[in-house]
Amino acid sequence: MSTRLSASTAVPVQNRRAGGLGTPVLMGLMPLLALLVVVSATLLAVALVRQLTAAAGFFTQQQVSLIFLICGLALAALVYIVALTRTCRRIATWQARGDRRARAALLALLATALIVALPVVLAIVLPQSPAP
């Protein structure tokens, strides 16, 4: 029985080591994708809400839009953390097995970190020409 258990665990590991890199890359990009989906949905919702509340006046419109944006930001942060945690667990499992997919997922995760920081980096390097 014990021999059968060990053999059944070993065979899939061998298969995974030989498998494609699409899944781990997708897994590494998951936090970024989740973030993009939530941010896009939030911006769309805010645009819609702005139209719907236009008749109620500027202050109402501003408050509702702000509430939607802040909720969207909070949701984006939550989704980012959840996706990041899940991805890290999966990578840890792959690493423990010596699975080469771990490295691909880590590289994708590194790309995610760089892309997430991109708005701030762009804001720093974007040329500005303030009036004297």
Partner: protein, 342 residues
């Protein structure tokens, strides 16, 4: 009894080695992810806050009416074009020699930012009175978010141009007071600072504005925002692009599109008179040169300029009141024609 298979003992060392370096790499990348996420979140939140401050301008009360100058006037309300915000203003009929009232030549007076139709700092009420006494009717109104008009975000011309276009619609088809005077036959526009930039944006789309006086207009709002946003918020300049994007997300304002310099040539062959204070520290006098040279690129362009010595931002009227009035009246009389009263 359990006996481990032989391959597991031989495979163990490489797995342990990979896990050691991999774990460190994973921790570094996770730390990077957390830092970049926090940075972007903080940047987004700060940008949103700056955007709310950027568009907010407390509405100033009207301190006096044309009656204080001994002029007749009526309160009017008309909708802006496209979004139909009810805007409040005054219609002041022109006074011809002999005291007869007229509305044949009407000038739309457009105030600057954080001001209203009676803006004392730029001399709006006095200038409106001067127009009326020279026989020009005046439509002076509060743009959205100013004076007695409904609250709205300050978009520095992006949305406000709809208000000027609404004023044109009102003069052409709206329920004008003084029906006995008839509708204006010719319409001109005078604007100061943001009002001047807004007037240029509106005039480029609306041929009914037959002549424009632009006092202290900016050619492009972006350089001024890139200077003022960090200065006002005591923040580094990197927050400006974020704040402008946040303003677009929150209010739909595209500040990058507020560039009168791009459209001013479209006003030709209608004449434009650019006035600017030579000592303007808020909108540098180089804006006058940019706008005038852009306007002159059009065929049939008719452009006049006057750089007023010693005048700071929107202070040309106060600095050289008599000459200012004389020059502006001469421009409007020359471009809109005389009013014989018949």
């Amino acid at each position: 009894m359990y006996s481990p298979p032989s391959f597991s003992t031989t495979a163990a060392p490489p797995v342990a080695k990979t896990t050691g370096t991999g774990r460190l790499l994973r921790r570094v990348i996770v730390a990077l992810l957390i830092v970049s996420g926090l940075l972007t979140l903080a940047y987004s939140a700060a940008s949103l806050y700056i955007a709310t401050q950027l568009v907010y301008a407390p509405q100033k009360a009207i301190y006096a009416t044309p009656a204080s100058l001994g002029l007749q006037f009526r309160d009017v309300t008309f909708p802006s074009r496209i979004d139909h915000l009810p805007l409040r203003g005054w219609f002041i009929p022109g006074v011809l020699p002999g005291g007869r009232l007229t509305a044949r030549r009407t000038i739309i007076v457009v105030h600057g930012s954080r001001a209203n139709r009676a803006d004392q700092a730029a001399g709006l009420l006095d200038l409106s009175g001067a127009f009326a006494r020279q026989g020009f009717a005046v439509l002076a109104f509060d743009m959205r978010g100013s004076g007695e008009s409904p609250s709205a975000p300050l978009s520095l011309g992006y949305f406000e141009q709809r208000d000027v276009l609404g004023a044109i619609d009102f003069l052409r088809t709206g329920p004008l007071p003084y029906p006995a005077l008839g509708r204006p036959r010719i319409i001109g526009g005078w604007g100061v600072s943001m009002g001047a930039a807004t007037l240029l944006l509106a005039a480029s789309q609306e041929p009914a504005i037959r002549a424009v006086v632009s006092d202290s207009a900016y050619a492009d709002i972006l350089p001024i925002l890139e200077r003022e946003v960090p200065r006002g918020g005591h923040l580094p300049p990197l927050f400006t692009p974020g704040a402008l994007l946040a303003a677009q997300a929150l209010y739909g304002i595209d500040y990058y599109d507020v560039r009168p310099v791009d459209v001013v040539a479209g006003i030709a062959p209608r004449p434009i008179f650019f006035i600017h204070g030579a000592a303007d520290t808020y909108v540098p006098p180089s804006n006058l040169a940019l706008l005038a040279s852009a306007a002159r690129t059009a065929s049939g362009a008719s452009v006049q300029t006057w750089l007023v010595p010693g005048a700071n931002h929107a202070q040309a009227y106060h600095t050289q009141t008599q000459e200012y009035v004389a020059r502006v009246m001469a421009f409007f009389t020359g471009t809109l024609g005389p009013d014989s009263g018949r």
